[in-house]
């Protein structure tokens, strides 16, 4: 009993302290600086909070940075950016964790699940960007081996691309496993003597291609447009069997190149119905590949995404005005 008493003695002051703290919080709950200052700030437009998913490639960052900048500075919204993978971002539409995906690459399966079936998300129109995914080689290789750009000849060059990671076969270097990719299936279904190896991120892909061009080492890798890096090193696309409608419906049996993606925005149903000015901005947001590349180049050059967005917005006031009207 004595020990229990001792326990009580020690916890009692702690509890008293907690109670005092709680009282203090309750007592001045209304007078906090958080509410006082906010009351003056948000009188014009009731924008509230926008949750923007941040997928992991710099083109996406450019879209999201400009959208966030405009929503924050022109509409007075609170923008919360969340670093998430593509598939995971879509799951956020249902929970309210994510309001906007600023650049979506196809994802027919997710469209079916979340837009058609569950009706928690909506297609919010094109971003104006056109996307291409494919296999690329550094320009020096296209010069030295011109026929490499025809996918049929890839097996001939497989030994060039062998690395210690590819188990005696040629290596196809992919990015993040989360990116849209059919490469594993392509290798198998086109009977290519290759192995897909993941570099893990866009940054790693770019670094690999840059070194490959500098040192004239062979490299075959997954890449995509719009992409700022192509203006630094103009990678050459390898042509695989052309895409035809429906040739890529079964993920395990794909044997054709990637389609041309009309990149679009996706927003949650709840957000679209909220009538928030930020939802209207998301719907109206549209620009070109050149626009995206200029912002992306600035971000890569060391600017913060926010500063790069400001620079673009300041130079394109008219475009922004049409988004806001």
């Amino acid at each position: 009993m004595k020990k229990a008493g001792l326990l009580l003695k020690r916890t009692l002051p702690a509890m008293a302290g907690a109670a005092a703290a709680a009282l203090l919080l309750a007592g001045c709950g209304s007078a906090s600086v958080n509410q006082v200052n906010a009351a003056g700030g948000t009188s014009e437009t009731p924008c509230g909070t926008v949750n923007v998913a941040m997928n992991a490639w710099v083109g996406y960052t450019a879209n999201a940075a400009v959208y966030s900048y405009v929503a924050k500075n022109k509409l007075g919204c609170t923008v919360v950016q969340k670093d998430l993978n593509e598939q995971i971002s879509w799951q956020g539409f249902a929970s309210g964790e994510v309001d906007v995906v600023m650049e979506n690459w196809g994802h027919a399966d997710l469209v079916k699940q979340y837009i058609t079936d569950q009706k928690v998300a909506v297609d919010d129109g094109p971003t104006g960007n056109e996307g291409h995914i494919g296999w690329y080689v550094p320009p020096w290789m296209a010069e030295k081996y011109p026929d490499i750009l025809d996918g049929k000849n890839l097996n001939k060059y497989a030994s060039l691309f062998a690395t210690s990671e590819s188990g005696g076969k040629g290596q196809v270097l992919d990015g993040d496993p989360a990116f849209v990719t059919n490469d594993e299936a392509l290798v198998k279904n086109l009977n290519l003597d290759y192995k897909v190896v993941f570099s893990g991120s866009e940054a790693a892909l770019i670094q690999s291609f840059r070194t490959a061009q500098q040192n004239k080492t062979p490299l075959l890798g997954y890449f995509y447009e719009p992409q700022w890096f192509l203006s630094e090193v103009p990678l050459k696309k390898v042509n695989l069997p052309a895409w035809t409608p429906g040739c890529d419906t079964d993920a395990e049996k794909v044997a054709c190149d990637y389609p041309t993606y009309k990149l679009n925005k996706v927003v949650s149903k709840k957000f679209q119905d909220s009538g928030s000015p930020a939802a209207k901005l998301a719907k109206n947001f549209q620009w070109t590949n050149a626009d995206q590349n200029s912002v992306a180049t600035d971000i890569q050059g060391g600017m913060t995404p926010e500063a790069a967005a400001k620079k673009w917005v300041d130079a394109h006031q008219d475009a922004v005005k049409t988004w806001l009207s």
Binding site: L6, M54, Q113, S164, V197, E252
Partner: protein
């Protein structure tokens, strides 16, 4: 381990080491298995390898994929969702939101927290003082202020709020379960295998289903963290209660106490110190989930690290990683100090009298509350001043250093990587993946029989059977190869540093803090620089495993060496042995069982890093799990791969345990020979 043992027997056959003894049955069996393996590999190379291309699924994987659709179809009206999952999510979310609003950011107004940075620093400092002592209080204040200077106060408080929520829920679930398991032996029997399973299952595996069921966000992150963090506190609570001496219990029983009285007045107070140790372990486990939880939208430091990993930004990763390590140190020291305070023996010899302490506590509480009040009314005390920011300086310095290393060391690092990969890793991996599966199963079963008899042979065969059924044999062998190579290196490091530490008190004192840091630092942080140096390869993944597992192996080996009776060592020295002879002929043989234990723990720790390794280039099961998490078409395969990792873990664990248990018979002969 089986294969490791076999490899050793092929390299240096046991009979050669003990020429006077006839080779035992066990040695013959192991050597025979190794020969069968080699012959099978050479003759039947590349047949029956059960390879499944990464994009292909088995029917089992496809049916697991249905889980996704099932959740979507049932979320709205299935009673399990209506009455269990959805309310549970709402409840966890509510608790998390209370802490997030208090410490990190409120959803309204300027999104400032209820308690600004100054108040947080004051309140947490006081709490550390009340629960622990003045020293940890000072540490808490310094570290939280430093978060502000790093420019990461908001992120750090988000993380702190989520860890706090997870720890509270862990204790809410864990302590009652631990008490039940401590009081009733039957509960313990049921619960122990479940806890084993929870601890071997890679967190990534349940992250995807959890996110499907509970949706992404703080709630799922907290639930995932609780699953990972609960086992230590459950185990230690149960252990604390069970460890109370029988006669103490009988004495209390003879006074006629009821079960509940016994629990409250005897068992809980006596187990208190152990329980607080469990809280400490669970807190550390919860913190190590920070980065992984960020993948399902948990806000905080983890997000910064994940973003840095994506852009290979070493500076930012190190800055945020530093915060995580500091938070770990604070939580560890405060809970450790609290557990010392909980020790009844410590209460008697304190320097400060209880009365002075209460007065001090009262004064500091008033001070802390004043700081809270300030932080609620003054903007400078609410949000950390932006111009007091050394974050960019840290980021740039580290980035410059890493850039220098990458440009100047890359020639060396790349050739080193290539040598290891083509010289050791690739041949060994091919030995595992290109041998027909039936030969490997037979070889492993024979090895298991040699180490642990029929029971172990049946168990390992069953484990391998499950892996084959899951359709992931070849991927499992890739993972096994990487795991065994990493463990071999871990053991070499364990022996070198363990012996040095065991032999010298000074080395021990220098090494311990480094080892502690290696264990608390989140893997993602040191992965980024290694990614820069070695690229995304299996080699980098193996390094990740080694860094995580080596400290454990080193510590266990050091303890084993230090525990050898000094008289034995002195006797050896007196009879003219050189230090090298003392190590190889006395200390290592006598610590053999400890070494086997170190190998066992090293393996388990390396295996725990399999999935993280896949984020930096490892293939095999880890990659399947990662891909299943991010590509919905591979969801089922990822789930299957997670289960395969568990069975691989059980197999390796049981075999190393058997190997650790058997050599006991041999030690006396070695001892007589050397002394």
């Amino acid at each position: 381990m089986s294969t490791l043992v076999q490899e050793r027997t092929t390299v240096q056959p046991a009979p050669a080491r003990a020429p006077r003894r006839r080779p035992g049955k066990r040695t013959i069996l192991l050597a025979g298995a190794a020969v069968a393996w080699l012959v099978g590999f050479l003759v039947l190379h590349g047949t029956s390898t059960l390879t499944l291309p990464a994009s292909e699924l088995t029917d089992l994987h496809r049916s697991l994929n249905q889980f996704n659709a099932w959740v979507a179809a049932n979320r709205a009206d299935n009673p399990v969702f209506l009455y269990v999952f959805t309310p549970l999510r709402a409840a966890v979310d509510a608790v998390a939101n209370v802490f997030i609003t208090t410490f990190a950011a409120s959803p309204t107004g300027l999104r400032l927290p209820e308690i600004g940075w100054l108040g947080t620093v004051g309140l947490l400092g006081w709490t550390a003082f009340a629960a622990g002592n003045a020293r940890v209080a000072l540490l808490t204040v310094a570290v939280f202020t430093f978060f502000g200077l790093q420019g990461l106060f908001l992120e750090a408080t988000y993380t702190f709020a989520l860890v706090l929520t997870a720890v509270l829920l862990t204790l809410l679930v864990g302590i009652p379960l631990g008490i039940l398991a401590g009081v009733y032996g039957r509960v313990a029997k049921v619960i122990t295998p479940v806890l084993d399973f929870m601890q071997t299952l890679p967190t990534f595996v349940y992250l995807a289903p959890l996110a499907l069921v509970f949706l992404i966000g703080p709630a799922s992150a907290v639930i995932a963290t609780v699953i990972y963090a609960a086992p230590p506190v459950i185990r230690l609570t149960a252990h604390g209660i069970r460890a109370i001496p029988e006669n103490t219990r009988e004495a209390s029983d003879s006074l006629g106490t009821t079960g509940l009285q016994r629990l409250v007045t005897l068992q809980l107070p006596m187990a208190r110190r152990t329980i607080v140790m469990g809280i400490n372990q669970s807190t550390m486990a919860a913190l190590s989930m920070v980065t992984i939880a960020a993948l399902i939208a948990a806000p905080g430091l983890g997000q910064v690290v994940v973003r840095a990993l994506q852009s290979l930004d070493v500076g930012t990763a190190v800055n945020a990683g530093l915060s995580i390590v500091l938070l770990a140190i604070v939580l560890d020291r405060v809970t450790t100090a609290a557990s010392r305070r909980a020790d009844p023996a410590a209460a008697r010899n304190r320097r400060v009298s209880r009365r002075t302490r209460y007065i001090l506590l009262g004064i500091t509480l008033v001070l802390a509350l004043a700081m809270v009040q300030l932080s609620r009314t003054m903007l400078w005390a609410a949000a950390f001043p932006k111009d007091l920011n050394i974050g960019p300086a840290i980021v740039q310095t580290v980035a410059a250093a890493s850039q220098w290393m990458q440009t100047n060391l890359s020639l060396f690092t790349v050739s080193f990587r290539e040598t290891v990969t083509t010289g050791i890793l690739n041949p060994f991996q091919s030995l595992l993946t290109d041998t027909p599966f039936y030969i490997l199963v037979a070889v492993i079963a024979v090895a298991a029989y040699a180490l642990g008899g029929w029971k172990l042979a049946a168990l390992t065969t069953a484990c391998l059977g499950v892996i084959i059924y899951l359709g992931l044999w070849s991927d499992s062998m890739v993972t096994l190869a990487g795991t065994l190579v990493a463990t071999a290196v871990v053991m070499v490091l364990g022996i070198i540093f363990g012996v040095a530490m065991g032999r010298s008190e000074r080395v021990d004192q220098i090494m311990r803090p480094l080892l502690d840091a290696g264990q608390t630092m989140p893997a993602f942080v040191y992965l980024v620089p290694f990614l820069g140096l070695f690229g995304a390869t299996r080699f980098t993944a193996i390094i990740a495993g080694i860094i995580y597992a080596a400290p454990v192996a080193i510590k266990i080996t050091a303890d084993g060496i230090a525990a050898i009776s000094p008289t034995v060592v002195e006797a050896a020295v007196a009879s003219g042995s050189t230090p090298w002879q003392v190590i190889t002929k006395v200390q290592l043989p006598m610590a053999r069982q400890t070494l086997a234990l170190a190998a066992n723990q090293g393996l388990i720790y390396v295996l725990a890093m399999v999935v993280v390794g896949a984020l930096v280039g490892a293939g095999g099961l880890g990659y399947d799990v990662v891909a299943g998490f991010v590509q919905s078409a591979l969801f089922g395969k990822g789930l299957a791969a997670g289960v395969a990792i568990v069975f691989l873990g059980i197999l390796l664990d049981r075999m190393t345990q058997a190997a650790a248990a058997t050599p006991v018979r041999k030690i006396p002969t070695t001892r007589t020979r050397t002394t």
